[in-house]
Subunit: 143 residues, 4 copies
């Protein structure tokens, strides 16, 4: 991947709004901690479909390319409840040969309070062979 | 509840669009059968917030009023996959003293194929006392 | 399928115990209504692995045979909470050419209170071709 | 908390076995990455109920004490599939005034392959007041 393309990718920021469902909330009355993984997964899909074509993640799956999660670091700062909307802001922190590191910041829409900060490392993999795909090649082809 | 109000309620049809998440899909590559309960629950919330105020279900929960599900009949006609959008169309079939029967028809957005037909009976209940609330009174107050 | 085998299948009753997770419970403090679909799905797997070999459902999936749900009727009688164990009792109500109708009764373990009654119709399907498999042939081969 | 008690807590290791459900698996045929949060949450409950009484987490919730997750670091090493059993091994890494750091190692039962390594920081909180509870006091009372 040329430096220009890399630089361009690092400058993209995607933002997506998600409505908290009744079923996202647990017996503490707050969104359950595992649900944030679903929220930032939405952020990942939105980011990828934003820089590529609108169904690129869906089409990648159909053509046998998947994006397994290798690592998640998540820090919870505040909690959301039923009726809230959350905003997931996604950008790429770094790209290595076989991994992409995403940053997802999750906010409450109403008061812009930070709910969670996420670092998520993903791979690009051929589902059938389980072979990793070179990330820079993957982006060169699609972006 | 006066007949006019009842008649009005039976004429409301709500429609909401939901994006299928990667995580909604199971190892068969199709939306898992339990996820349709989440989809029509979204339809229920949308219907109620449509006829009342935009946060009526959320505010009811805060004031201690909940809508437990008493019965679900669901027939699956076709399946959705990751990348699809589904449409949930919701209307009321009947209102009795202590229950509301909803009809939810769930379609695939792209080709309008019917995915599932749902009959769902809900109660209105005070969460703390577990006492049922008279449905017609509930609607009279809010609609 | 010979009548003897059919009769035998209709006499099997399987019972499985499941611990309610914190995450199964919603903001009402009770197990969310969609979770019962996961519970009786456990009952289905247990029933099938009981009459066949201990991994028959898992192995069927590996060999491309799946059991899509065609219809669910569920009536909720009482609710479970975090800390409860539930018992799912499963038997077959009827077997037709291309469908099996299961009955699942879900109880609270501590006081044997009935929580939900389920009728669930399942198909047997080849995942790749989407062709239905004749149910009686399927059982003849495996039982 | 006396040093003896602290030392004792750091020596406890809990182990719990969990059956992977069909519904835990995603369209990649592997357990979805968010499900590991449910698995190690089971490990947390098992650990606490092991060192205290068998329903201590459940009873804490009833008395208004909850254990919100502050931070999760999870590294995925291999994947599990439908039919697998996973083992969650849980121990305490450190105890501070207002937080407990748990280590959860998640293995596949059949071949003892490591699936995921987790560091999870939890708080002890009064649900109604949202006040944090001093962790050492909490343990002194219960252990």
């Amino acid at each position: 991947m040329e430096d220009a393309l890399l630089k361009e990718l690092l400058n993209v920021e995607d933002s997506i709004e998600i409505k908290v469902r009744f079923n996202d909330v647990d017996a503490m009355g707050a969104v359950h901690f595992k649900k944030y993984l679903v929220y930032f997964d939405d952020g990942f899909v939105s980011f990828m479909n934003n820089i590529q074509d609108p169904l690129s993640v869906e089409n990648a799956l159909k053509s046998g390319i998947v994006f397994p999660v290798k690592k998640v670091d998540i820090e919870y700062e505040a909690s959301a409840e039923f009726g809230d909307h959350v905003i997931v802001k996604t950008r790429i922190k770094s790209i290595r040969d076989t991994s992409i590191t995403f940053l997802h910041d999750i906010y409450r829409e109403s008061d812009k309070a930070l709910l969670a900060k996420v670092i998520c490392v993903r791979l690009v993999m051929e589902l059938e062979s389980k072979n990793l795909v070179n990330v820079k090649q993957f982006f060169s082809k699609f972006v």
